[in-house]
């Protein structure tokens, strides 16, 4: 008999793989690794803020929403800085430094609030946001992931060609009547929203790697967009499922196993070259 928590974990990883498998090549082609890094760090800030509010208001469910809202605010701030003439890297650098500082400050506040409130369930949440706990995913978490993930998946699919064109030549898209700012804003918000949906299961420490490496590997083995997407999707799916099954047998955190597997594949391909 397969334990229910394992089935939930496997279903979650299928959704995670579909989302990251599709997003990862875009992150590589558009050169969004730095933005992804800042976005995922703002998730931690949002999660800590959500925990503080959750402790004060006694509502556990607001952590993910706080993470999502903060991430979107940070993404919009980055887009606004870019609009005002800062280079993408400078805009991300400015936002990331604020977010990093605020996260440390928020942790200080969280510890104070935790000292006055019952905090054991939240301490688990902090750990799961950092390292990922796919085996602890609840049915509600899974439903949110599947519904939110499906919406983002279809939106991303509909806009995929536009995202490719904007990555290729933003001036060209604007010149022919496309709204580059709207496309980029949507892409950045999707990066943040996907991060918010899956961070609790994948973990912040490894999320960056799992979001970037499948696309990077796929682009090393193919130069055809359909093949790149196929390799990225199947690679993410294979690594996610295998890591969960190995974690089930060995009690090692699955996101750690997935990250190491991706690192080994990427390193082997680089070495072969």
């Amino acid at each position: 008999m397969i334990p229910e928590y394992l089935i939930r974990a496997l279903l979650a990883s299928v959704m995670i793989s579909v989302l990251l498998g599709l997003l990862s090549p875009l992150i590589n082609m558009k050169g969004l690794a730095f933005l992804t890094h800042a976005t995922f760090h703002s998730l931690l800030f949002g999660a800590v803020l959500g925990m503080i509010l959750g402790l004060i208001l006694g509502n556990l469910g607001m952590v993910m929403w706080a993470a999502l809202i903060i991430t979107i605010v940070v993404v919009l701030a980055i887009a606004e800085l870019e609009k005002r003439g800062f280079s993408p890297d400078a805009a991300v650098g400015i936002a990331a430094s604020f977010v990093a500082g605020l996260t440390v400050l928020a942790f200080g506040v969280l510890y104070k609030v935790m000292a006055e409130k019952p905090y054991f369930p939240f301490s688990e949440s902090i750990v799961s946001y950092l390292t990922g706990e796919v085996f602890l995913i609840t049915l509600n978490d899974l439903l949110t992931l599947v519904i939110g993930g499906t919406l983002i998946f279809f939106l991303m699919l509909l806009l995929y060609r536009d995202f490719l064109y904007v990555s290729f030549d933003p001036d060209g898209v604007e010149s022919y009547g496309g709204n580059v700012r709207a496309y980029l804003m949507l892409l950045y918000v999707m990066v943040g929203a996907i991060g918010a949906l899956i961070v609790k299961t994948v973990g912040l420490i490894t999320l960056q790697v799992i979001a970037v490496l499948p696309g990077a590997i796929a682009m090393m083995v193919s130069s055809n967009i359909r093949k790149i997407l196929g390799v990225s999707l199947f690679l993410t799916l294979g690594v996610e499922l295998l890591s969960i099954l190995m974690a089930y047998r060995t009690d090692i955190p699955p996101s750690g196993i997935a990250t190491i597997m991706l690192g080994v594949i990427y390193g082997a391909l680089l070495f072969r070259r």
Binding site: D162, S175, Y176, I225
Partner: protein
């Protein structure tokens, strides 16, 4: 009707004036060759006329409208090496970009009609056989011609070309220049071409504008390409020479040979 007219245009980045006091006008169907050293403001001027850069003072009109309002009449052709080669688009997909953004926000599939027009545009620039090849795998000259095909997809009245001949070998330059000549003859499109190498384009240029963060000279090639004018921008080695009634401009690629050295 004047295709482009500028009166006392200052182009700014924040409060810094990148190009100062430009006044010029070109008629519909004319080709303007925009010449100037690196950092002179050629790309900035093109991007301002294209409506991408909006921080300017003065009066700038494209077919009687502001650049932002004239967007549908303009096609901007960037330098091909400024495009992101990591995106694996086929040549025909790059060209069809020029047709799909007039309608809708989502472009999951390129309509068959746009693909068919893209193939025709590729054929016009002499690239029937590269439609299915990846853009980044094409030669520099082919890439530039693909971008020209893309620019024609929106039936523009004004083509703005940012150094279309840069980083090309002489035969590729000649190919691109020939396509530009064909566009001028068969499409009657007004063109502004920023370039370092004016010589291959001399046959299609009605007017030449020399800038160096301000207007140095504007007029016919004979009026502008005079020794004293180009020396004032490119230094004492620059020259304008006439060979068999054809004018050549030597600006940067001058080779000095010291005594005793083999040329």
């Amino acid at each position: 009707m004047e295709a482009v007219s500028a009166e006392n245009v200052d182009i700014l980045y924040e409060s810094y004036i990148a190009v100062k006091g430009l006044s010029f006008g070109i008629e519909e169907g004319e080709t303007l060759l925009l010449l100037g050293p690196n950092g002179a403001g050629k790309t900035t001027l093109l991007r301002t006329i294209a409506g991408f850069h909006r921080n300017y003072h003065g009066k700038l009109l494209v077919f009687g409208k502001t650049p932002e309002d004239a967007r549908e009449l303009i096609s901007y052709v960037p330098q091909s090496h400024s495009l992101n080669g990591l995106v694996p688009l086929k040549a025909v997909e790059v060209v069809s970009m020029g047709a799909i953004y007039k309608k809708g926000f989502f472009h999951f599939r390129v309509p068959e009609e746009a693909l068919s027009r893209a193939r025709e545009a590729l054929s016009f620039v002499g690239l029937d056989d590269v439609a299915e090849r990846r853009f980044s795998e094409l030669s520099g000259g082919q890439r530039q011609r693909v971008l020209l095909a893309r620019a024609l997809m929106s039936n523009p009245k004004l083509l703005l070309l940012d150094e279309p001949l840069s980083a090309l070998d002489p035969s590729a330059r000649a190919e691109v220049a020939a396509v530009l000549g064909k566009i001028k003859r068969e499409k009657s499109v007004t063109m502004i071409i920023a370039t370092h190498d004016i010589n291959p384009l001399m046959e299609i240029g009605n007017r030449v504008m020399l800038i160096n963060r301000k207007l140095i000279a504007f007029g016919t090639p004979e009026e502008v390409l005079r020794d004293e004018v180009i020396k004032s921008v490119y230094g004492p080695l620059a020259r304008a020479i006439k060979v068999e009634s054809r004018l050549y401009c030597i600006t940067g690629d001058v080779h000095l040979h010291l005594k005793g050295e083999q040329p």
